[in-house]
C-alpha cells in the first residue's frame, strides 16, 4: 500500500500503479541520477585513459582515433627513471614494514593496555597526517639540514615511516577493537602469557586486515610527493618527484608519460589484488587521502 493510493468518496479505489505525476517524476529523477552518476564515473577514469592512450600513441598530440599504437614510448624510458622507480619501491616497502612492526604492538597496547595517556598517544601519532603535507615537508627540511639527513635514504625512510605510522596505528586500533577481549582472557586462563596471547590469538585474527592496511600504505608511499619534495635530492629521487621535475623543466615527454602509465598499472594491480583476493568490502571506508 503506498501513499499513491487514493480514497474516493470513502471507498478505496483498486490499487493500480498508474503513471501519476509522482511516478513520472520519480522515474525521471532516477534516470537522470543514473545518467549523472555514469557521467561522473567516466570523468573520474578519464585522466587514466587519456594518459594511457597518449603513451600508446607516443606523442602528446593525441587523437581519439589513433592511427598507430606502439609500445615505443615504454622502451624509451631512461634508466634513471627505472632507477627512481625501484628506489621508490624499495623505500616504500621498507617504510611500510617498519611502520607495521612498530604500529601493531603499539596499537594493541593502546587498545588493551588501559593506559591513562592512551588518548594523548593516539592523537600524537596522528599528527603527521593531520598537518598539511606541505608544512610537514618544510618543517622536516628545517630539521634535516642540521642533522645532515637531507638527500639521504634514511631521511626519506624516516619521513615516510612517520606518515605510515599514523595510518598503521589507526588501522590497527580499529582492527583490534573488533576482536572481543574475551579471546585474550580465554587464552590467559588457559595458560598463555601476555606475549603468547598476542602471538597466538590476536595476530592471526587481525592478520588479513594488517596485510591490506600494509598494501594500502605501500601504495600511498609509492606516490608520495609533497612531503618528500623538500628533503629528497639528486641521489635519492622518488619517481613522482622525478616525473614532476622533468615535466616542469622539459614539458611533456612521451617516455615520461609512459612511466606515469607504469604507475597507473601498479595502481590497477593493487586494486585487483585487494578486490579479488580479499574481497571488495575492504575498499569502502575512506582513510585520509595523502594527496599533495
Amino acid at each position: 500500500m503506498s501513499v499513491n493510493d487514493t480514497f474516493v468518496g470513502g471507498k478505496r479505489k483498486p490499487y493500480r500503479r498508474g503513471w501519476g505525476r509522482d511516478r513520472v517524476a520519480g522515474t525521471l529523477g532516477s534516470t537522470a541520477l543514473g545518467v549523472y552518476v555514469g557521467f561522473i564515473a567516466l570523468w573520474m577514469i578519464f585522466p587514466m585513459l587519456v594518459v594511457i592512450l597518449a603513451s600508446l600513441e607516443g606523442t602528446f598530440d593525441i587523437s581519439l582515433i589513433p592511427e598507430k599504437l606502439s609500445l615505443d614510448s615504454y622502451a624509451q624510458i631512461p634508466q634513471s627513471y627505472w632507477d627512481s622507480f625501484w628506489f621508490t619501491l624499495w623505500i616504500s616497502l621498507a617504510a611500510t614494514v617498519v611502520a607495521l612492526v612498530v604500529a601493531v604492538p603499539a596499537g594493541w597496547a593502546l587498545v588493551r593496555g588501559r593506559l591513562r595517556e592512551r588518548r594523548i598517544i593516539s592523537n600524537l601519532v596522528l599528527v603527521p597526517i593531520i598537518v598539511p603535507q606541505l608544512i610537514l615537508g618544510i618543517a622536516l627540511l628545517g630539521l634535516f639540514i642540521p642533522l645532515q639527513l637531507k638527500n639521504t635514504f634514511l631521511g626519506i625512510m624516516i619521513a615516510l615511516t612517520g606518515l605510515n605510522l599514523a595510518l598503521a596505528i589507526r588501522f590497527t586500533e580499529a582492527l583490534i577493537q573488533g576482536v572481543p577481549e574475551e579471546y585474550e582472557l580465554a587464552a590467559q586462563s588457559l595458560g598463555a602469557g601476555r606475549f603468547t596471547v598476542f602471538r597466538t590469538v590476536v595476530l592471526p585474527v587481525i592478520a588479513q586486515g594488517i596485510i591490506i592496511a600494509g598494501l594500502f600504505i605501500f601504495m600511498q608511499d609509492l606516490i608520495s610527493f609533497v612531503i618528500l619534495f623538500f628533503i629528497a635530492g639528486p641521489s635519492t629521487t622518488p619517481i613522482a618527484i622525478r616525473l614532476f621535475v622533468d615535466i616542469v623543466q622539459r614539458g611533456v615527454l612521451p617516455y615520461a608519460v609512459a612511466m606515469a602509465c607504469v604507475l597507473v598499472y601498479v595502481a590497477l594491480a593493487f586494486y585487483a589484488i585487494v578486490a579479488f583476493i580479499f574481497g571488495p568490502k575492504y575498499l569502502t571506508g575512506a582513510p585520509v587521502s595523502r594527496k599533495g
Binding site: V51, L115, I121, P128, L136, F225, L243, V252, L283, T284
Partner: protein, 320 residues
C-alpha cells in the same frame, strides 16, 4: 563450611603483622612476607603498565621526531630573524607583501570554489554508491584507483586535454565548430580549477560514500512510510545527518587545495594563483627559511582554521 562472616572475626591485624615480622626477620626464611591483596594487584598492574608503555615507545619517539619536533622548530624559528633575534618581522613582512596577500586571497577563493563544487558533484554519486551494493562494486574501481595515482598523472592528463593546439578538448571543440580559435585556458585558472576539481571530486566521493553508508537507510524508509516523498525524506532525514561528515570531507578538500604544490607548479603561467609555490620559492630560491616558516604557519592556520570555522558555524546553525 558456610559463613557470611568468618567465625571469630578476620585474622587480626596484629596476628598478621606478627607473622610477617617473623618471616621477614628470620634469616634464610623461605617464602615471601605476606602481602595484602591490593599490594599484590597494584604491583602486578604497574608492571603490566610498564610493559604496555614500552610497546608504545617506538611509535611515540617516531612521532616526536617526524612531526612534533620539526613543527615546533618551524613555529619557533618563524619568530626569529636572520640573526636569531626574536621578532614578528617575518609575519609583518608577509602580511604587507602585496604578492603574498593577493595570492593568498586567490588561493582561498580557488579552494572554496573547488570544495563547494566537488562536494556538490560528489554527493549524489556517493548517495547512489551507498545505497546500491551492486552498483557500488562496479563503480568502486573508478573511485578508488584515481586516489592511488600520483598527481603528475593528473597534471599530464590536464595538459593533454587542454593544451591550446594539441589538446583533445580544443581539437574537439574546433572540429565541432563551437569555437574558432583554441582556448588558452591551460596555464590559467580554468585549467587549475579543472585539475583541482578532479582531485577534489575523487577525495570527496571516497569520503562521502563512507559518510552516507553510515546513515541507516531504514530512517529514510521510515520517513517515506510516514508519508514523505523520497525527495523530502532525503532532505529532511538523511541530509542533516550527513552534515558533520560533509564538513569533514570539505575540510580535507579545502586543505588539500590550499596547500597544493605540484599542480600549480605544473600548470602555472606567469601569474601565480596558489600560495604553496610562493613559499617554496621563499625557501629554496631566496633561502630565507624563517620567512618561509612564517608563511607556512600562516597557511596552516588558514587551512585548519577554515575547517574549524565551518564546523563552528554549522554547529550553531544546526542547533536552531
Amino acid at each position: 563450611m558456610v559463613s557470611s562472616k568468618a567465625a571469630g572475626g578476620e585474622p587480626s591485624a596484629a596476628r598478621r603483622l606478627l607473622v610477617s615480622g617473623i618471616t621477614a626477620q628470620l634469616p634464610g626464611s623461605p617464602g615471601r612476607r605476606e602481602r595484602t591483596a591490593s599490594e599484590i594487584s597494584s604491583w602486578r598492574r604497574s608492571r603490566e603498565r610498564l610493559f604496555f608503555r614500552l610497546l608504545t615507545l617506538p611509535a611515540v619517539l617516531i612521532a616526536l621526531f617526524v612531526a612534533i619536533i620539526p613543527l615546533g622548530m618551524l613555529v619557533f624559528r618563524s619568530f626569529l630573524d636572520r640573526t636569531g633575534a626574536a621578532t614578528f618581522a617575518n609575519y609583518a613582512q608577509s602580511f604587507t607583501n602585496p604578492l603574498f596577500m593577493r595570492t593568498l586571497v586567490t588561493t582561498i577563493l580557488m579552494a572554496v570554489t573547488v570544495t563547494v563544487l566537488s562536494t556538490a558533484l560528489a554527493y549524489p554519486v556517493a548517495y547512489v554508491m551507498a545505497r546500491h551494493t551492486r552498483l557500488r562494486n562496479v563503480l568502486m574501481p573508478a573511485v578508488t584507483i584515481p586516489r592511488m595515482l600520483p598527481f603528475v598523472v593528473i597534471g599530464y592528463a590536464v595538459i593533454l586535454l587542454l593544451a591550446p593546439f594539441t589538446g583533445l578538448l580544443n581539437k574537439l571543440f574546433m572540429a565541432m565548430g563551437i569555437i574558432k580559435e583554441p582556448l588558452f585556458i591551460l596555464f590559467d585558472w580554468p585549467g587549475l580549477l579543472i585539475a583541482f576539481g578532479y582531485s577534489g571530486l575523487v577525495i570527496a566521493t571516497g569520503m562521502l560514500t563512507g559518510v552516507l553508508m553510515s546513515v541507516d537507510p531504514q530512517l529514510e524508509e521510515a520517513a517515506v512510510g510516514l508519508g514523505a516523498s523520497r525527495l523530502v525524506a532525503f532532505f529532511k532525514v538523511t541530509l542533516p545527518l550527513t552534515i558533520p561528515g560533509v564538513i569533514a570531507s570539505g575540510g580535507i578538500v579545502f586543505t588539500s587545495v590550499v596547500t597544493a604544490y605540484s599542480i600549480p607548479v605544473m600548470l602555472s603561467g606567469r601569474v601565480p594563483f596558489m600560495i604553496a609555490p610562493i613559499i617554496a620559492v621563499t625557501l629554496q630560491s631566496l633561502g630565507d627559511f624563517n620567512l618561509a616558516f612564517a608563511q607556512a604557519v600562516i597557511v596552516t592556520i588558514l587551512s585548519l582554521g577554515g575547517t574549524l570555522g565551518a564546523q563552528f558555524v554549522l554547529d550553531r546553525y544546526g542547533r536552531t
